[in-house]
């Protein structure tokens, strides 16, 4: 696997002492292992939007950057569908007012992903079995429907396929109710980049305690890790 493990480790080392990586860093770590993440910038708290979005294409997504906020969408820390830099600037003002009780580091502005079914790929380190990887039907309702399936790392391509096949909702990816079938091979590849031989969990299980890529948006042209959370091991740093 063509992973930049040294860069990923350096990113994590730089966040030693934190419970979790910032979303921006988490995505950078995913990118080190070949996962597609949105093009994005971080704008510091109180800084103007100005030319920060030059070179990026709208529509944009705005997300709050605040270590104390675990689930951003639950507190109104995510705004979708912002057409241009002006709309982003207005949305930042509004969100700053809404979240005035939180210590805010800044704002993450990303290119919005193409629509498609949302899945989750996650990982944990079990005290007995060690690193393991999860795939499931994603979004905020993942814990309600519990349509998830685990594999013990490193998973093989066959394991990944069988995990996907075990999901009750897998037909959502295969052209449910007239929708186009999505790029299932890209989902398998993403699972392997996180949980396969040489993947993120096998390379970083001494540093990473838990990981959520939720959602991973699947389209006819590959996958995009739209949100990511990497929880660090407490015994590190």
């Amino acid at each position: 696997m063509d992973a930049d493990i040294a860069k990923a480790r350096a990113l994590i080392e730089a966040s030693a002492g934190r419970v979790a990586l910032s979303e921006d860093d988490a995505k950078e770590v995913l990118a080190c292992f070949g996962l597609r993440v949105p093009r994005r910038v971080v704008i510091g708290f109180g800084e103007p939007v100005g030319l920060a979005l030059d070179g990026l294409e709208g529509p944009f997504v705005l997300k709050v950057v605040a270590p104390s906020i675990l689930h951003k969408s639950d507190v109104g820390g995510v705004t979708l569908g912002l057409g241009d830099a002006g709309a982003v600037a207005d949305a930042i003002d509004e969100m700053a007012r809404r979240l005035s009780g939180h210590a805010i580091d800044g704002w993450l502005v990303e290119e919005m992903a193409q629509a498609g079914p949302e899945i989750v790929i996650g990982a944990t380190v079990d005290p007995g079995f060690g690193p393991n990887v999860m795939v499931g039907l994603g979004g905020v309702l993942v814990e309600l429907f519990e349509d998830v399936c685990f594999g013990i790392c490193p998973i093989t391509p066959g394991d990944a396929q069988r995990m996907l096949d075990s999901l009750r909702g897998v037909r959502l990816l295969r052209g449910w109710r007239g929708a186009a079938a999505v790029d299932e091979a890209a989902v398998i590849e993403a699972m392997l980049r996180i949980g396969g031989e040489g993947g993120l969990m096998m390379a970083l299980s001494d540093l990473v305690a838990e990981l959520d890529v939720n959602p991973l948006i699947v389209s006819t042209r590959g996958v995009m890790a739209v949100d990511a959370r990497i929880v660090l091991r407490g015994d590190h740093g």
Partner: protein
């Protein structure tokens, strides 16, 4: 400890020492000594007793160190607190020691347990237990419980519970399982599932492995051994405590969802091990693997044949739920069945439902003709014959039932491609019928046919076999 251990002295010990038997009263160590005689243990047996010259008719020595030779296996049943020093002084006279006493880590005495392990290693031995019941080895003639059969078979079992180990042995034998060995592991302070699995996988006398597990300390090693084995030998896992809510605080969706149950399902999916939920299903699955040879083509299509309309309907449901098809028979088999001109009330569609009156034809020999037509039909993977015993035994001719079963066994065909054949003997629990059932069970088993009590049990057991076949097929 990383050195290679030879486990033959454990699974088939040739010399045994027993510590903790009384010269006057009778405890479990006395039972163990008596069993060795009754079960025909052929090698030397040494009792260890501070003063007596013999115990239960075996020669006694004051300490393990005083034994005239190094024994393969020592059964030690003395109070927990005395055990470490007793073993520390064993001076290399024991290869494997099993410590029966409780009162170690399970009772909060982790330091005592650590001392026990250290004492064993200092004394040059490997430890089973503590807090367990003992060992069963059919070929050696060793059993920790009295009155079980010593007829050797191919089922090897590791149990993290002693009591459940005894249940597995007794109940399993009643339904036809024949064991190579059964080891109770208790707290698994030294040797645990991950250590004992590989020797069982390598053991030529063991054809199928059953594991009752609660807490696997080296889960990853256990997984890697199973994975490397590639399900060449079937492994059935009954895992206790799978529904316990994950106690870990979690900062992610995934962490909250990573429960024990899901990880064991992952292990099964990735290694081809078969995961079951109850003791009954565990024993039934082992029986299916003991009797039936996995087919190269994963089992899918089942023919059901027997007496009882409602039973046939429920049977179809049970097999469908278990993932099987109960397909229409193709024309040639159907024509053969129709040519038998079964009386009204019979149905030759699958499920083949033949009222007891039909089965009486030719004093039961009709059963063989029906099955001969079915067993030769292409695409059939399993044939399940179910007989409602009280109904058939109500007829005055006592030969009908044996003729039915014999005819069926003869008609099931030969060779590697023949369908799995399964017998379901349904009883109302009446004592004389239960006794008959045990006789037919023995006959069927001697011919390699598993017998189940109910059709749903047969469906679940066959599903375990089919899961194994699918894994092997896909591997």
């Amino acid at each position: 400890m990383v050195e290679t251990v030879d486990f033959a002295p454990l699974f088939q010990p040739r010399s045994v020492a027993v510590v903790g038997a009384s010269a006057s009263a009778g405890g479990i160590a006395n039972n163990f000594l008596r069993n060795l005689r009754e079960d025909g243990f052929a090698g030397p047996v040494y009792a260890v007793h501070p003063t007596a010259a013999s115990v239960e008719g075996w020669p006694a020595y004051p300490t393990l160190a005083a034994l005239p030779e190094t024994v393969d296996y020592a059964y030690v049943s003395v109070a927990a607190g005395r055990t470490p020093d007793l073993l520390r002084a064993a001076a290399g006279r024991v290869r494997f020691v099993q410590v029966i006493a409780s009162g170690f880590a399970e009772a909060g005495e982790a330091a005592l347990e650590a001392d026990l392990v250290a004492a064993c290693h200092e004394g040059g031995m490997r430890l089973l237990g503590p807090n367990c019941l003992g060992l069963y080895s059919a070929r050696a003639g060793v059993s920790f419980i009295s009155g079980v059969r010593m007829e050797a078979g191919g089922v090897g079992v590791l149990s993290q519970s002693g009591g459940l180990g005894a249940d597995i042995l007794r109940r399993g034998q009643m339904r036809g399982l024949r064991f190579s060995s059964l080891v109770t592991m208790g707290n698994a302070a030294d040797l645990g599932p991950a250590d004992l699995l590989q020797p069982l996988l390598d053991d030529a006398d063991t054809q199928v492995i059953g594991l009752y597990l609660e807490d696997v300390k080296q889960g990853r090693r256990f997984f890697e051994i199973l994975r490397a084995a590639g399900a060449r030998k079937p492994v059935v896992v009954l895992k206790g405590g799978r529904t316990e809510a994950g106690a870990r605080a979690s900062a992610s969706h995934t962490g909250a969802l990573a429960q024990d149950d899901r990880l064991w399902q992952a292990l099964a999916r990735q290694t081809g091990a078969v995961l079951v939920d109850t003791l009954n299903r565990f024993l039934d699955a082992l029986l299916a693997f003991q009797c039936l040879t996995p087919r190269a083509r994963p089992s899918e299509n089942v023919v059901l044949f027997g007496n009882g309309g409602g039973t046939s309907v429920l049977a179809s449901d049970a097999f469908s739920r278990a993932g099987f098809a109960v397909p229409k028979l193709e024309d040639e088999a159907l024509a053969q069945l129709e040519a038998l001109k079964l009386p009204p009330g019979s149905s030759v569609a699958n499920p083949i439902d033949t009222p007891a009156g039909t089965l009486r034809q030719e004093r039961g020999a009709i059963g063989g003709r029906i099955l001969a037509a079915v067993a030769a039909a292409p695409g059939i993977d399993a044939v399940v014959m179910h007989l409602n015993m009280p109904v058939i035994l109500a007829y005055s001719d006592p030969d009908i039932l044996p003729n039915l079963i014999r005819g069926a066994l003869e008609a099931r065909g030969a060779g590697a491609g023949r369908p799995h054949f399964i017998l379901v003997l349904r009883s109302d629990g009446e004592l004389s019928i239960e006794a008959e059932k045990q006789r037919y069970r023995a006959t069927a088993l001697s011919l390699g046919v598993p017998v189940f009590d109910e059709l749903s049990d047969a469906a679940d057991a066959l599903a375990c076999l089919a899961a194994h076949e699918r894994f092997r097929h896909g591997a």
